[in-house]
Subunit: 322 residues, 2 copies
């Protein structure tokens, strides 16, 4: 959430000459994105986001992300594709980093989406899943189920510094989930995998953009809805569930993409999985970010607490959720 | 250089209703400013910078800064005044911080300004000094000459960790400067006091904005030119002086505001003062910023080295500049 790589105005003006986008008028480093450096760039023709990819986004994955955005944009979905230069290239290099010039989308990310906004987000997610039916590329989910146990072990007993007994409880919940995770033969497709309200731009109740596809991957389709549900339907502490918002998200999704019976019955397990995924990644960041760093550490327990809503029976077995 | 205070889209939309500026369309936290939080805000009518003032800018000083910007803007200078709300207020509170909605100016900050651009900056600075002849308010320079010795003592012997002997050399240079600093009876006025290329927006060779007035104060007028000269005429290491750029800055200034004989002869002492001011403040930041913090620490010695150009005789007496 900062600008890690400085791009001088002179270098940026030179970079823009590769494209047919007019001349540089303004550039502001913006505090957005998952450990990328982003600039809001204005030219004599239009506005753009310039993204320089730092450590978390592997250069090798960019062709997948950009192909997915092109695919969705071509089907009319409100996603920001990369701008092609005069030779048709989307992925460039700038200041030693992979870099893309990306379409700017209006709209704001809401902190407290209402029912109508959640319904719109669900619809948009369902529409994306419809649209990727013929998307040909695959990318493993580097933050998928198989990664959770190794991440738990890398965090290790330090987790008990966040909440006494957390390591044991996470290990128990993971073991519980392992028994059911793969058995249902749920449909898989390209998923966003990180559809937080942060990553949806809105004007009023209308969606103007779905952004930040840098966790996109091939995984269980319903898991994408489960992540969104866990992300949209709770307050920031994870203590308070807004059932109306949660239901609206599922209803909106179902309008675009009806859920099967097996999906309905699997939903809560997948939501517990989503909770574990973000509890673990936030815990890892928490344990590895100095308390005084400028990056805001997000409370890992805020996602852990959501398990009480998705699997109350499991939660009673977990002292950290008592 | 980060967003310290988060403003939700909902809170921002509500805040904007105080003004006659249209409705919120987009908001991006931007990585700019001296420890303030800044957002680039777009409405259905225009674009603005929303600034929330964090610790370094005292709320008590905001009326001075805003009055100065209004004064300069009223005289047609390209500075960004605060937008008045429907009741005529410029200074607000948002998320518990003093906050202003500020006019957005196009243009980019250059990293390597050329001769024509330096001349334009000098002209603009001279024009500002002409324009403040009838500006009635005063503000002491909290980073002025009187503050340097106390700041040196607060840094103390830790300075020798930056360069062996630095404490002694800075103390010597300060003592040398103290003999001449006040004797000339140089004219005083409201000055910008921080006119780095960062704080000047340009399109081509034309200035579109002078920004970041949060060090503005009443001090020796020529000192403002000395700060700008030291900031514009060297590479980032402080080793390489670009005489053509330096001369252009002074020539441009002189076109707006001719220098007196006494000012000509005092210029190099004031430039040494400017070097000391930024060496000391950067040294303080250096000693008090963890090496792994997201804030980039600026090399204090880069300003110290400039003394070799402004006072070669003094520099020969200083082992750290040998």
């Amino acid at each position: 959430m900062a600008v890690y790589t400085h791009v001088s105005a002179e270098a940026l003006a030179e970079f823009l000459t590769r494209f047919d986008v007019g001349e540089l008028v303004s550039a502001k480093g913006i505090a957005e994105g998952v450990e990328n450096s982003n600039y809001l760039v204005e030219t004599t023709q239009d506005r753009f986001i310039l993204t320089l990819y730092e450590k978390r986004v592997a250069a090798d994955d960019l062709p997948y992300f950009m192909a997915l955005l092109d695919h969705l944009a071509a089907k009319g979905l409100p996603v920001p594709p990369a701008i092609k230069d005069r030779e048709g290239r989307e992925i460039h290099e700038l200041e030693g980093r992979p870099a893309c010039l990306i379409k700017f989308l209006p709209g704001v990310s809401l902190s407290h989406p209402n029912v109508a906004q959640a319904r719109a987000a669900g619809e948009a997610l369902g529409a994306m899943h419809q649209a990727v039916a013929d998307f040909p590329l695959d990318r493993p989910n580097s933050m998928g189920f198989e990664s959770w146990k190794p991440l738990l072990e890398r965090c290790g007993e330090s987790l008990d510094g966040i909440a006494p007994g957390l390591y044991r409880d996470l290990d128990f919940a993971l073991g519980d989930l392992a028994e059911t995770w793969d058995r249902q033969g749920l449909a898989r497709c390209a998923i966003h995998a990180d559809l937080f309200p942060d990553n949806v731009l809105m004007l009023g109740d209308a969606i103007t953009g779905v952004i930040d596809f840098y966790f996109a991957c091939t995984d269980i389709r319903l898991y994408d809805l489960a992540v969104a549900h866990a992300a949209w339907s709770f307050d920031t502490t994870g203590e308070h569930y807004d059932e109306a918002v949660g239901n609206a998200l599922i209803e909106g999704y179902s309008q675009s993409f009806p859920l099967s019976e097996v999906e309905h019955s699997a939903f809560h397990d997948l939501a517990v999985g989503a909770c574990l995924r973000f509890t673990l990644s936030r815990a890892w960041d928490w344990l590895n970010t100095p308390a005084d760093a400028l990056v805001t550490r997000k409370d890992p327990l805020a996602f852990w607490r959501r398990v009480k809503v998705y699997d109350p029976d499991l939660a009673t077995l977990l002292p950290t959720l008592a």
